[in-house]
């Protein structure tokens, strides 16, 4: 039968390139038809610039989901990096490097604690990272006394606000980090082990994969990514805020899931997540532009995310059944 064969071919193609990219293009066309402003080059670049913050945080979240976990401390890490970097930089250039280094080191330490709680203390990832998130918020409150101060140096503002070859610098950073992480997850032993741990930890253990080390490294990377995303966002806005990270708690998970990574672990890709982050940002931007009420915006956003997850399930199950047929 040719037509089901063609259908399964099409589905396999979709799965390979990431269905999310089709969704990204469709949403862009629809929103552009409704509001022509979306078709302006400046608006496309604006979406890519803003998507970079969520995009980098979501890359870290992808790693956590790939190993079958979740990292809800990304929100706290974004806030922490914002508070730490502005308070250490205080608008000066000479403190730029130490401020960035300290932020990254702190983030790595947070990731290490998350990983250790999950592997050594056997706390479930959701509870461990949510706990860390709460601790980080509390620590930010104590550190600032509820009154954050400081600002970024003019050089640092280039990362979040500047352009290079017509592209926003934040987008370039994001693409570079995304490509590097895509390569690491696909081409290195570490990457293959990451998928193995997520797909079947027992089998991975039998194959001699050092599960604990992989998990700890994953959470360290996830925190470092959240920190990088937070640093870029800080550079975009220039000032500290104790609530700056909150928006990433669930949107980072949404971007990863929309990008096709399974919540159950072992399946998904960084490139899909990049598409997922663009999709979520595009959707926000679209609902900002169209004339709908606040309530309808939330319904629309939730419905589109739920629908895309449903489509993955359908595509996924079709693929499985067509593979079974071939056998």
């Amino acid at each position: 039968m040719s037509s089901p064969g063609r259908l399964s071919q099409a589905l396999r193609f979709l799965n390979k390139v990431g269905a999310v990219w089709i969704a990204v293009i469709l949403l862009y066309l629809v929103s552009g038809l409704i509001s022509p402003g979306m078709f302006q080059v400046s608006q496309a670049l604006n979406i890519l610039q803003i998507a970079a913050f969520l995009g980098i945080v979501a890359i870290g979240q992808t790693l956590a989901l790939l190993v079958g976990g979740i990292d809800l401390s990304v929100a706290g890490v974004v806030t922490m990096s914002n508070i730490v970097v502005t308070s250490l930089m205080v608008g000066r250039s000479d403190t730029l490097i130490p401020a960035l280094a300290i932020s990254l080191l702190l983030a790595a330490a947070v990731g290490f604690i998350n990983g250790s709680l999950i592997t050594l203390a056997r706390v479930t990832p959701l509870v461990a990272t949510l706990g860390t998130n709460s601790i980080l918020f509390g620590a930010a409150l104590v550190y600032t006394g509820g009154a954050p101060h400081g600002s970024i140096s003019p050089e640092f503002a280039v990362c979040g606000q500047g352009h290079l070859f017509g592209l926003p610098v934040s987008t370039i950073c994001w693409i570079a980090i995304g490509l590097a992480m895509a390569w690491i997850t696909r081409q290195t032993t570490f990457g293959r082990r990451l998928y193995a741990v997520g797909a079947n930890p027992a089998a991975a253990r039998l194959m001699g994969v050092p599960i604990n080390r992989i998990l700890i490294a994953t959470y360290v990377l996830s925190s470092v990514m959240a920190c990088l995303g937070g640093l870029l966002l800080t550079s975009y806005i220039g000032s500290p805020s104790l609530g700056i990270g909150d928006q990433f708690l669930l949107t980072s998970v949404a971007a990863v899931v929309v990008g096709g990574t399974a919540l159950s672990g072992g399946s998904g890709s960084i490139l899909g997540t990049i598409g997922g982050a663009i999709f979520i940002t595009e959707l926000n931007s679209f609902t900002n532009i169209v004339r709908v009420s606040t309530g309808s915006r939330f319904v629309l956003q939730g419905a589109v995310i739920a629908l895309s997850v449903l489509m993955y399930h359908l595509v996924g199950s079709k693929r499985t059944s067509s593979q079974t047929n071939h056998q």
């Binding site: 402003g37 509820g146 101060h149 400081g150 609530g243 931007s285 900002n288 532009i289 606040t294």
Partner: protein
């Protein structure tokens, strides 16, 4: 119900000269003996509603006062907390000042209030997380003879002793009126609010719409911006792409106005009139950019961080047997391009809310800058 209204003004300088404390309070009470609303800054305070008799609350000796703060974690609350603690420390009769933090949790705050009642406090000050959720807990406390003073954000019903705060609808109206007068009757504007579904923004926006009535002012969009600069900048960037002409931005908070202004700067669009409150970041931005953009104007109504001081003084008046108004509505003065320099604190961080009774030195300590 008998309704009495009274308004009076006192400038910041007068307040400072009078000591902004018991001395000033005594002086004003003499001028307005019946409805002695209180002030520490250059705001007008309107007494609304019947007068609450202090005789049934009068106690001798020392007082235990509780403060149920809905959450902490923004600079407004930090300054408010500092001011009210400082005020409490200046009253010898206040032997215990117990602060509990609801951590943004509606049910925790109800529990906090119940705990304060069981600790036998004489008065409870409260900034509610939800005006409806805390109402029963405050009613119960009031029934037990405890003075209950919600402030800053309103609590449903009237089963509390007295209220202090601004009127968001009036503020929204005032900001809308300023925007209309500044832009003329046929401008195109966008509006940016706070957290989705919050009652403060809803009331303020309702007030603004009243101010626009009868004009051809076109509201292109109303969006939530979470009272965060970064969120406002992102939303505004989208609106800039959608609407080639935006003549003004109505905001109920100045972090949002600052974020929107930064988005205009990033898009290389001329700056336009914005509204907001007394966030130092916007005043600094105005100082920096107003020379480059002649159409850039600010119309701001502060949300005084000393509201808690008034709330505490009201509680103490009642415990001393004095009468107070049921509602003391603070009516802040308008901060505009003409008078912003009186409020600007150039040496202090963006996060400072400038309508405060705290000195620069105290703010520097608070902000560790």
């Amino acid at each position: 119900m008998e309704t009495k209204k009274d308004v009076y003004f006192v400038t910041r300088r007068q307040a400072i000269r009078l000591g902004a404390g018991a001395l000033g309070f005594a002086a004003f009470s003499r001028v307005f003996p019946a409805y002695g609303a209180d002030a520490v800054s250059n705001a007008a305070i309107t007494a609304v509603g019947e007068t609450v008799s202090g005789s049934k609350y009068k106690k001798n000796g020392s007082f235990r006062i509780g403060f149920s703060n809905g959450f902490s974690g923004n600079t407004w609350r930090t300054e408010c907390l500092y001011s009210v603690k400082k005020e409490a420390s200046q009253h010898k009769e206040v032997t215990d000042f117990i602060i509990v933090d609801g951590q943004g949790d509606i049910s925790k705050q109800v529990n906090d209030i119940e705990n304060l009642v069981s600790q036998n406090v004489d008065a409870i000050l409260c900034i509610p997380n939800s005006g409806s959720a805390v109402a029963p807990a405050l009613r119960e406390a009031t029934k037990q003879g405890i003075v209950t003073i919600p402030f800053n954000l309103p609590v449903d019903g009237e089963a509390w002793t007295a209220f202090t705060g601004t009127d968001p609808e009036k503020k929204g109206f005032g900001l809308g009126k300023w925007l209309r007068e500044t832009l003329g009757d046929s401008a195109k504007i966008v509006a940016l609010g706070g957290l989705p579904g919050n009652s403060y923004t809803a009331s303020a926006w309702a007030g603004a719409q009243k101010a626009f009535q009868g004009s051809n002012i076109q509201v292109l969009a109303f969006r939530d911006a979470y009272w965060e600069e970064d969120r406002a900048k992102v939303v505004m960037a989208d609106l800039i792409a959608a609407y080639p002409q935006i003549d003004g931005v109505w905001c109920d908070g100045s972090q949002v106005a600052a974020g929107a202004t930064k988005a205009l700067l990033a898009a290389k669009r001329p700056l336009v009139p914005v509204t907001g409150d007394d966030y130092n970041g916007l005043l600094k931005l105005y100082q920096e950019q107003s020379g480059n953009y002649p159409k850039f104007k600010i119309g701001l109504l502060s949300e005084p961080t000393w509201e808690g001081v008034i709330a505490l003084r009201t509680a103490l008046k009642l415990l001393n047997g004095e009468d107070v108004p049921k509602r003391q509505i603070i009516e802040p003065r308008l901060i505009t391009s003409e008078n912003y320099k009186d409020y600007l604190r150039p040496a202090l961080p963006d996060g400072v809310f400038v309508d405060t009774d705290l000195s620069d030195d105290e703010l520097k300590t608070l902000f560790k800058s």
